[in-house]
Each structure stands twice: as C-alpha cells, then as structure tokens.
C-alpha cells in the first residue's frame, strides 16, 4: 500500500513539475532575458507615458466590462443555476461560444454590430456614442470574450448553494430579492469574486477582438504588437515584461484578498 501511494505521488509530481516548468520557463525567460540584455530599457519602459497609458486603458476597460458582466451576468447565472426553461441548453452553449471562436472572428462580428453601419453602432453614433476606435469599442470586445468566464464561475457558485437555504429565508419573511441579497449573494461571494477576477484578467489579455474594432486608443497588447511590428523584439519585450509583472502583482493581491472570504465557507 505504501509503495503504491509513493509511485502515484512520484508520477503526479513529475507531471506537475513539467507543467510548472513550462510556465516558468516561458514567463521567466522573457523577464530574465530582458533583465540580462537591457535592464535599463525595462526601467525606462516602466515610466514611458504611452506604455502606462495603454496599461491603464487595458485595466480600466476590462474593469468596466467586468462591471457590466457582473450587472447583467449575475441574474443570468442565477437563472441558469436555479431554473429550467425552454432553450436553456441553447443559452448555455451560446455563452460558451466566445471561448471557442477565433477572436478575430469575434472582432468582425462586433464590427458588424457596433461599427459605423452596425445594428447598434449606427443609431448610437448619431447620439454621439462611438465604438470604432473608441473606449466603448474596447469594452464591448472585452465583454464578449470574458462573459463565459464570469457566468460559468458564478453559476457554479449559485448551484453550490442549497436552494433550501433560500426557501428558509423566504419562510422567515424575506422577499425574493431580499433572499438573493442577504443569503445567495453572500454565500456565492467567492465565486462571484473569482468570476470577476477571471473576467477582468481575460479582458486584459484580449487582442484579436479589440484590434479589429479599436486600434486607437491602444490597449497594452495592441501596443506590444505595434512596437514588435515596427521595431522588433527589443522594443516590444520590455512592455511585455512590464505587463506581466503588473498582472502578477495584481493577481497575487486579489488572491490574497479573496482568501479572507473563507469566513463565509459553506457547511
């Protein structure tokens, strides 16, 4: 028995180390090679206003798209978790489509809706709301690709809450909305937070859908692409490293903060 367990642990460890090394080497090599080749360029890039601006646009647009996903996606996730209705399977599949389709395809689809002659873009253009080459265009592109990450996470969170808890709250005098606010949402908070983090992260990393609808203002991935195309690896690598370091820092902080919610762990 002891021998069997050890073999399994050893095998699992080997596979785990291989995958960790794959990630470490890919990310680490980028960072280390920049430090070795030209640490000064890295330092200069960290204070480059166009780089800082592009990072800010990436982070803030993704924040806005996550906020929209939260507002509209939370009710949908709740329905998917709790209700059975005609077309439910179709809607679940539809939500997963942005994960599967190439993001350039997503970009083309978004232009046809939000572009100058688009279904939604055209009437909104007339009242001064523009998507093409504008911040709102970045937001809709990021929203499109990040929706599955938010909704699927949050739906699982709601599914993990026993409906009888909600039933009890209703018998104790709470309305449907009050039950959702005081029982369901607090108990699903970690999944809502995790879904929001994943949605935000996915939005920041988006390139293909954004570049087709909004080249300017530039998000960080588009800036990296432009610098690479115009000046090569030497010009684009420092920006990539800065983006990685900032992302890692923010992720570590968010994961640390979300650990505090273990107080609300379910029975």
């Amino acid at each position: 028995m002891k021998t069997e367990i050890n073999k399994t642990v050893i095998l699992f460890s080997i596979f785990s180390v291989i995958l960790i090394l794959y990630l470490l080497i890919t990310i680490g090599n980028l960072i280390i090679s920049q430090l070795v080749i030209d640490a000064g360029a890295l330092w200069k890039t960290m204070w480059d206003s166009s780089v800082l601006k592009s990072i800010w646009i990436s982070f803030s647009a993704s924040f806005v798209s996550t906020a929209i996903a939260f507002l509209f996606g939370t009710p949908l996730a709740y329905f998917l978790a709790r209700k059975n209705f005609p077309g439910k399977n179709f809607i679940e599949s539809l939500i997963d489509v942005p994960v599967i389709i190439p993001h350039t395809v997503a970009g083309i689809a978004l232009i046809s809706v939000f572009g100058y002659n688009g279904l939604i873009g055209s009437p909104l253009e007339e009242i001064g709301i523009r998507f093409v080459d504008a911040f709102p265009g970045i937001v809709v592109a990021m929203l499109f690709v990040s929706i599955p990450f938010y909704i699927n996470h949050v739906r699982e969170g709601f599914e993990s809450i026993d409906p009888k808890l909600e039933n009890v709250a209703r018998t104790l005098g709470e309305s449907e909305w009050g039950t959702f606010r005081t029982i369901t949402l607090p108990l699903a908070y970690r999944d809502v937070l995790a879904g929001s983090i994943m949605s935000w992260a996915r939005g920041i990393s988006e390139f293909g859908a954004v570049i087709l609808i909004t080249y300017y203002p530039m998000i960080a991935p588009v800036l990296i692409f432009e610098r690479f195309r115009s000046f090569g690896l030497g010009a684009s690598r420092p920006i990539a490293v800065v983006l990685i370091l900032v992302s890692i820092l923010i992720f570590v902080i968010l994961r640390y903060l979300s650990r505090g919610w273990s107080l609300y762990a379910k029975d």
């Binding site: 039933n167 709250a169 018998t171 104790l172 609300y264 029975d267």
Partner: protein
C-alpha cells in the same frame, strides 16, 4: 385551524394528489410515511415554497393558497437544519425578525425567550459549522420559534441525529409544545417518533394521504395493508371471516381459526400487532380469546424490546420486553403458548 382541501401539486420528481387534512390549533400532528412519499413536498407547499396546482390551504379562516411564503404565518425547519452558514447563531435567530422589520427591542425580547427555552445561550456567537448536530437543531428551532408562527412545520427534525441526541431533541419538542401550545406539523418516517409525539397522525404514500386519525386508532385499526405494514402491524394474513353472535370467526389457515371483534365478513386481511400477543411457557389463563401454541424459530433484539418469530402453523411476530425475555429464558426451538384478545385482531 389549518384546513387543506383537495390539494394537488406536480413538481416533476415528486407529486401529491388530493390531499385533505385538518389540523386544529395547538395540535401536534404527525405525517408518517416512507421516504419518497411526498411528505417534505407537502410541507413546502403548505409553507408556500412551491405553488399548488389545485386545491386550497386555509389557515384560521384565511385563504393563504396563493400567498408568498413571507406572508404566511408559518415557520419551517428542514431535516438538515439549513442554518445560514455565513451568520452566527444569534444572527440566524434574528434573521426573520430583521426581515419583518421588528423593532430592536422586540427582536431582543423574542430572541431571549427562544434562547432560554432552548438553552442555547452558550452558542450564540458561534458559526453553524462549529456546532454539533443537536446544537444546530436547537438553533434552527429557535430561529423558527421567534417568528411566533401560527403553524410550525418540522421536516424530520431528529433523523439526522444520533440516538441520544434524538432523545434530547424530542424532549425539547415536547417542552416547546407544552410551553408555547403552538400548532405543529411534524413529518417523519419513524413510527416510534410518531407515536411518542403525535396526537393525530396521517399516513402518506406516493403523494396521497392513506389514513388520518388519532395515533392509537390508526396504529390499532389500519385501513389498508400498506398502512398496517407501515405502522408495524407485522402480522398480516389473508383470511376469511364469518360473523357469529357478534364476533367474527377468522380462518387464517385450514387448521387455524381466531376470533376478532369486527363485523366484516368474507375475504379479509387480519392484522395483529406484535405487542398485543402475550407469551408464556405454560398454557395462558387470560381473557384473551385466541390461544395458540408454537415453536420459537427466531429471536432478534430491538432497541428496547425482543422480537420473537413463532411458528404456530402460521408465523407470528411477537414483541416482549427485554426483562420478560430474560425472566422466561426463552430460546430458539422452545415451544411456547401465545394468547391475544379478539380486540387485538383488526380486519381490513
């Protein structure tokens, strides 16, 4: 009074049909039935968690059939407690009072009363995951009681607990009932709990009520084989009955005939409760009209009693106290005498 008239609901996996019940104010009413009978669904429809497809629920002359749960003066306690895990015991208890907008003074007063009744002062600041089963159940009962409901619905409140804790909670339930005179509808699959707690019981099977009545009457006079089986009348036999001078001569087998106090005739099922049969090593001199002899073929121990299977030509199950068993020093293979009254034989 709670009146349920022709209540039906189809929830896919579970359904119930044409439920009719009346529960007087201040009564302890038990709904007894096997797992899957629809007992929990019935409670949930009464509480308003699910809507009925048809029928009526009238509570104290008010039709509450279409009212949402929050507008029904009914509290419900689930088998698995369902304490809100992100709230302390105290916050759990106060939850409903907060939702209903009671004043702080009233909240404190009611909470204090419930906490004292259930003796849970020491656990108020703890979270549910740190509590034992008994503590969770007491906290859940307190949460329901503070609402001062007209009806308190209990869904298998002790079945998830170990036996000693079950006994404590049953005592708590009796105490709650005595001190608050609240109307309780308690659902269980345990006939022992039903007998101990229920003034009136209903037997439920596959979404239908099969029999309702006083506990002792239902247990002694089941109206069907299913009810007889479920209430523990383990001796159920196909028989033929013939009336003779006010009693029924019941033929169980060619050579075995017993007497019953019944006016049923023809093909019947004869039920005799195991605890109604007296046992002796020598012929019994008693008022029991029915005397049989047989051999003990099996002895099994129950929690508080011993159960004997006796072959008298038909197999009879007999329940005696452990003391009687020890005093008589009964063994498998031993020949014994059995006696039971005509009133102990119930014909369906």
């Amino acid at each position: 009074m709670l009146k349920i008239k022709d209540l039906s609901a189809d929830l896919g996996e579970f359904s119930m049909e044409n439920i009719n019940l009346e529960v007087e104010n201040g009564q302890y009413f038990v709904i007894l039935g096997p797992t899957g009978a629809g007992k929990t669904v019935l409670l949930e429809v009464i509480a308003g968690i699910y809507s009925a497809d048809s029928g009526e629920i009238v509570l104290n002359d008010q039709n509450i059939t279409n009212k949402p749960p929050k507008d029904r003066p009914i509290s419900m306690v689930y088998q698995d407690y369902m304490l809100f895990p992100h709230l302390t015991v105290e916050d759990n208890i106060k939850f409903g009072l907060d939702s209903e907008g009671y004043s702080n003074e009233e909240i404190e007063k009611r909470t204090k009363e419930a906490v004292e009744l259930l003796e849970i002062q020491d656990i108020l600041h703890r979270y549910p995951r740190t509590l034992s089963g008994g503590e969770r159940q007491r906290a859940t009962l307190a949460r329901g009681l503070v609402m001062d409901p007209d009806v308190f619905l209990l869904d298998e409140p002790v079945s998830a607990l170990d036996v000693p804790t079950q006994e404590k909670i049953i005592d708590e339930l009796k105490k709650i009932y005595r001190e608050t005179e609240i109307t309780i509808i308690h659902v269980t699959h345990s006939r022992e709990k039903a007998v101990r707690l229920g003034e009136r019981i209903a037997i439920m099977k596959e979404g239908e009520i099969k029999q309702t009545g006083n506990s002792s009457k239902v247990f002694r006079e089941p109206n069907s084989e299913f009810v007889a089986n479920f209430v523990g009348a383990e001796n159920i036999f196909n028989a033929t009955s013939k009336l003779n001078n006010g009693t029924a001569k019941v033929k169980l087998k060619d050579e075995i005939e017993i007497e019953a106090l019944s006016n049923r005739e023809g093909k019947v099922k004869a039920c005799i409760r195991p605890e109604e049969i007296m046992v002796s090593k020598t012929p019994i001199d008693s008022s029991g009209r029915n005397m049989l002899e047989g051999e003990i073929i099996e002895i099994s121990e129950r929690e508080n009693t011993m159960q004997l299977k006796v072959d008298t030509g038909i197999e009879l199950v007999v329940t005696i106290t452990k003391k009687s068993y020890a005093d008589m020093n009964l063994k498998v293979g031993e020949k014994i005498h059995l006696a039971f009254k005509a009133t102990a034989v119930h014909l369906i």
